[in-house]
């Protein structure tokens, strides 16, 4: 029997020169131990993990280094500029991250997850400084993945500034509130992919549980970046597996094409051929 399908075939997740077999990007922060982090990364199925750049601790000689616990031949590292509040500091941090990754011979040396924050309470990005930093980093040859809000106009400006991917937040970083405004994400997708359907859009931040990931993927984003949702779950290992399944389920559902929402019911069983109601005589 020959079967045909009308839904699009899924492609590998292509981000610039990188081709990933998982659409989940997972952060390495906030785990209770490096061992739990290692196992969670494994269970999540991710091939790309984010890392932060920070001062080397010069006093604690016994302190372990994250790099002792990461198989850098297995994962593509995505260094971030988290904690930067100016374009200058973000550019410096990106250069430092690239220098370390080049020393590790990791393929992630060509890119950066750009965060230029505006406010410590909300961790909302500074959109003006983010656009400026994007332009400067692109000029220096970086592939820039931009953390931003779900504002479609800013998203488009970032793409025009040369961002490899625009990454709108579903809700504030670490808040676990999920996708607060799916309509904004829809408009971001429409604007960013208008003449360029393969342009990668990633939901970054706010994911609290598996259904949040599935909802993001069902909207048609290309990937999800998360950290706290796994790291701070009561059981991070189970949650890592749940996130892996959610990203796959959401992607499949998006490709399959959901049914439209309707106000009234539509019976699933045939409406004809029902047995005669009690007390009604059959006609001969």
């Amino acid at each position: 029997m020959q079967t045909t399908t009308t839904t699009p075939r899924d492609e590998p997740f292509c981000l610039g020169i990188h081709s990933l077999n998982s659409r989940l990007i997972v952060g390495t922060g906030k785990y209770s131990s490096y061992e739990i982090m290692q196992q969670a990364l494994e269970l999540s199925g991710t091939e790309c993990i984010t890392v932060a750049v920070r001062r080397e601790r010069l006093i604690d000689e016994s302190g372990h280094n994250l790099l002792d616990f990461l198989d850098t031949s297995r994962y593509t590292l995505l260094p971030n500029t988290a904690g930067c509040f100016t374009a200058d500091d973000a550019v410096r941090t990106a250069r430092l991250g690239r220098e370390i990754l080049q020393g590790l011979d990791n393929p992630g040396a060509d890119w950066v997850k750009l965060e230029v924050l505006a406010d410590t309470k909300t961790l909302l990005p500074d959109p003006v400084a983010t656009i400026e930093a994007t332009q400067r980093l692109v000029d220096e040859g970086f592939q820039v993945l931009c953390y931003t809000t779900d504002d479609p106009v800013i998203a488009l400006r970032l793409k025009q500034a040369g961002a490899l991917s625009v990454m709108p937040a579903g809700s504030p970083i670490g808040s676990g509130q999920g996708i607060l405004n799916p309509n904004s994400i829809r408009i971001c997708l429409e604007y960013l992919k208008a003449d360029d359907p393969d342009y990668p859009v990633i939901v970054d931040a706010g994911v609290g549980t598996a259904s949040d990931v599935a909802i993001a993927m069902e909207l048609g984003v290309d990937g999800v970046l998360l950290n706290t949702g796994i790291a701070h779950a009561a059981d991070p290992l189970r949650m890592a597996l749940a996130m892996k399944k959610a990203v796959a389920a959401g992607r499949l559902a998006y490709l399959a094409g959901r049914i439209p929402k309707k106000l009234y019911a539509t019976a699933s069983s045939p409406e004809s051929g029902v047995i005669a109601p009690r007390g009604v005589k059959s006609r001969v």
């Binding site: 952060g27 390495t28 922060g29 906030k30 785990y31 982090m37 984010t50 890392v51 932060a52 750049v53 920070r54 001062r55 080397e56 010069l58 000689e61 280094n65 994250l66 790099l67 590292l77 260094p79 971030n80 988290a82 410096r92 250069r95 430092l96 991250g97 220098e99 370390i100 080049q102 020393g103 590790l104 970083i173 670490g174 931040a205 970046l225 998360l226 950290n227 706290t228």
Partner: protein, 66 residues
């Protein structure tokens, strides 16, 4: 001479290079990047780059992050 490493003042011999400082601090060079006075000093230049009085250094590594 006095230099500042990650915000802390430190006395080191005059003319010390970045590579010599990292060795003194027993830092695994593969794990770090070094900036002197806001400018990145690439790994290949560590042996030649001589520090001068009042240099401000940032020595950074990778840590867990999202």
């Amino acid at each position: 001479m006095e230099i500042f490493v990650n915000g802390q003042a430190r006395q080191v011999p005059a003319g010390m290079t970045v590579a010599e400082l990292l060795k003194l601090l027993r830092i695994e060079t593969r794990h770090v990047a070094v900036e002197v006075n806001l400018e990145l000093v690439p790994r290949t230049q560590h042996p030649q780059h001589k520090l001068v009085d009042h240099d401000q250094l940032e020595i950074v590594t990778l840590v867990g992050g999202g």
